[in-house]
């Protein structure tokens, strides 16, 4: 799964949008220059392939869990960096619009993390450099695994940095890092194994397909490197990023945190919140008498004595609840009116 809008601050979201938009512009310009009109339909259907492949799982023996392909590295091996990047980005966009995976503001982060990192960063700078012209079996295994691991680790790192920079989630940096990185080690191993298996399959079945992506173009590699330097400087200048995560990993790590750290409090916490809501609603009509009784009810924490604080807090609390309820009513009323007005204006068509 991908990063969500709700966890992003606008600064971080906009920064990542700018970085990803730059990547898309760069990739598009390079594709235009290549003038290979076979590539356009190929990228389109491969996007569809990726979309389907991400939803087909396989079971990992001995763990009871399952994994699937993420695909950035595989597409880069098949298509070359910029075409692979655009393909992954387009799949992410469809997911953002139709499944709200991530959301529109987080799209920039997701494209960066799942598209740019594997296709434009890890593939040209790590995979293509290390794999060599005629790789032996062992070299291929090592390099593919390394590249997949690197891509996943970088992605997870970006997630953590981004979460912290956005400041909406309160997860501390070190704890989040400690949970995310090992999980993405496992996810990276899975990704590497799948990529390797599919590439070996293709090598046996249609070796000529693998020739396309590995056709080196030194200039484009340098361009990408320059682009990334710019991005890195941009980020180092104080903006950090969020990136997307695989669902299983993030959710699993979150479950770990809540499971290990403080499940009992979680149990006691929800009733507390519900109780608060109940009391809020119950007290609202009698708002004045409650504020009069406040000092008595407050369980005398020695420092928190001053009377006006709880009173004002409660006053705004009551106002907040009332206002919220009224707004909800207003919104619902507006919806009803609009729907009715619409029905009047447009006769329903069969």
């Amino acid at each position: 799964m991908h990063m969500a809008d709700a966890l992003l601050s606008p600064t971080v979201g906009a920064t990542m949008w700018a970085v990803s938009a730059g990547g898309v512009a760069l990739g598009s310009a390079r594709l235009r220059r290549e003038h290979d009109d076979r590539l356009a339909p190929l990228m389109g259907v491969l996007g569809g392939f990726l979309f389907a492949a991400q939803m087909i799982n396989f079971s990992i023996p001995g763990t009871g869990s399952s994994g699937h392909l993420t695909g950035g590295l595989l597409l880069a091996i098949l298509l070359g960096p910029s075409a692979a990047f655009l393909t992954v980005a387009s799949v992410l966009m469809v997911q953002a619009f139709f499944f709200a995976d991530g959301g529109l503001l987080a799209l920039g982060c997701n494209i960066f993390n799942l598209g740019m990192i594997p296709a434009l960063l890890v593939y040209p700078l790590c995979y293509r450099r290390l794999i060599g012209p005629e790789p032996g079996r062992r070299r291929e295994v090592v390099v593919t695994m390394l590249a997949a691991l690197l891509a996943m680790q970088l992605g997870a790192l970006c997630v953590v940095l981004e979460t912290t920079a956005s400041g909406v989630s309160a997860l501390p940096l070190d704890k989040f890092l400690l949970l995310m990185q090992p999980i993405h080690l496992a996810i990276g191993l899975v990704e590497g194994a799948v990529t390797l298996a599919v590439v070996s399959f293709l090598r046996k079945a249609r070796p000529e397909l693998l020739a396309r992506g590995s056709a080196p173009s030194a200039a484009s590699g340098r361009l990408v490197l320059a682009g990334f330097l710019v991005c890195a400087l941009f980020v180092a200048g104080g903006l950090s990023r969020f990136a997307s995560v695989k669902p299983d990993g993030l959710e699993w790590s979150v479950a770990r945190v809540s499971g290990e750290a403080s499940l009992p409090e979680h149990r006691s916490g929800l009733p507390v919140l519900l109780g608060a809501l109940q009391r809020r609603t119950a007290w609202f009509p009698d708002y004045r008498s409650v504020s009069a009784a406040a000092p008595v009810l407050t369980p005398a924490p020695a420092s928190a004595g001053p009377q006006p604080l709880p009173v004002s807090g409660k006053g705004s609390g009551a106002a907040g609840v009332a206002g919220t309820a009224l707004t909800v009513l207003l919104v619902a009323g507006a919806a009803l009116l609009l729907r009715r007005g619409n029905r009047g204006a447009l006769p329903p068509r069969a």
Binding site: A4, L7, P10, A14, S28, D37, P41, L42, G44, V45, G47, F51, A52, A53, M55, I56, N57, F58, S59, I60, L69, L78, L86, T87, S90, V94, F97, F98, F99, D101, G103, L104, V168, S169, A170, L171, P172, A197, V198, S200, L202, E251, V254, H266, L273, A276, R279, T298, L309, K314, A318, A319, G320, A322, G323, T324, V328, V331, A332, R339
Partner: protein, 270 residues
């Protein structure tokens, strides 16, 4: 998104909604995209403890759903389906953020719970707005709008190709996956080896399809560009739409509408 077929059905249903014919559907897609972006930025820019000020923002998705005659229950269910992810991350807040923020008589609510509730609200708002935009506009129109707003053409073409063949490919993948499930009841056969060859075969077929498509397109005179449908006009209605909503969002961002209303009412009542 457990099964390919389920996801595909979902996709098709949302896609069909864009075929509606209300004034909102006919609005130039650029106006809707811009208004939605302003909306999302405004919602996301609130501080982490903001709750009541977020509520008035529901007016945007709700009124669009109502005026666009979209199935509200279906969209709400989709939003709820996405929510678990945000909840999974947000639920950590109460454990790490224990400062007391709100006093309600004897009850102290920690900042963590407030910010968690805020995350849930944000998710509902942003996801709701994005889905409403898709349901009102349709993916192809959104792509066209983005091109006219400056997206590179090569990427737009990729998006349109993907959108055309997504359904075909997803169905093919779904069939392959179902066939594998039927043959490997238990666990044998669902491991990495068969997965890799399944994906490999799918990839080969995809590739061959692309080659056939390319030849067919050449035969029909493909020049490297989709003929762009004559785009709508960004007329007065569009300008009014964008200005009205942007002004509303910015006002709601600057002034807490719910609290103002509540203060007014409570002062009046007391």
């Amino acid at each position: 998104m457990a099964s390919v077929h389920g996801a595909l059905l979902d996709l098709k249903r949302l896609d069909r909604l864009a075929g509606g014919d209300t004034p909102l559907h006919r609005l130039d897609p650029r106006a809707k995209v811009l208004a939605t972006l302003v909306f999302i930025v405004c919602v996301v820019s609130f501080g982490r403890y903001e709750l009541s000020a977020l509520i008035p923002f529901f007016i945007f998705p709700v009124s669009l759903v109502a005026a666009g005659r979209l199935p509200a229950g279906y969209l709400a269910a989709k939003v709820a389906l996405v929510a678990p992810f945000a909840i999974a991350v947000g639920i950590c807040n109460p454990f790490f953020d224990r400062g007391i923020l709100v006093h309600l008589g004897a009850l102290d609510i920690t900042g963590g719970w407030v910010s968690f509730a805020s995350i849930v609200l944000r998710t509902a708002l942003t996801v709701g707005a994005a889905l409403t935009l898709t349901a009102l506009t349709g993916f192809a129109s959104i792509c066209r709008a983005l091109v006219r707003l400056g997206m590179p053409k090569a990427f737009a073409m990729q998006l349109l190709f993907l959108y055309r063949y997504l359904f075909v490919l997803a169905e093919e993948g779904g069939r392959a996956s179902r066939a594998r499930e039927l043959r490997s009841f238990g666990r044998k056969g669902s491991g990495l080896a068969s997965y890799a060859s399944l994906l490999g075969h799918l990839l080969l077929r995809t590739w061959q399809r692309a080659e056939r498509m390319h030849m067919a397109m050449l035969a029909r005179g493909f020049t490297g560009d989709f003929p762009s449908a004559q785009g709508g006009r960004f007329g007065a209605r569009e300008v009014v739409f964008v200005l009205f909503w942007s002004a509303l969002f910015i006002t709601l961002r600057l002034y807490n509408g719910a609290e103002l209303l509540g203060t007014l009412v409570t002062v009046y009542l007391s």
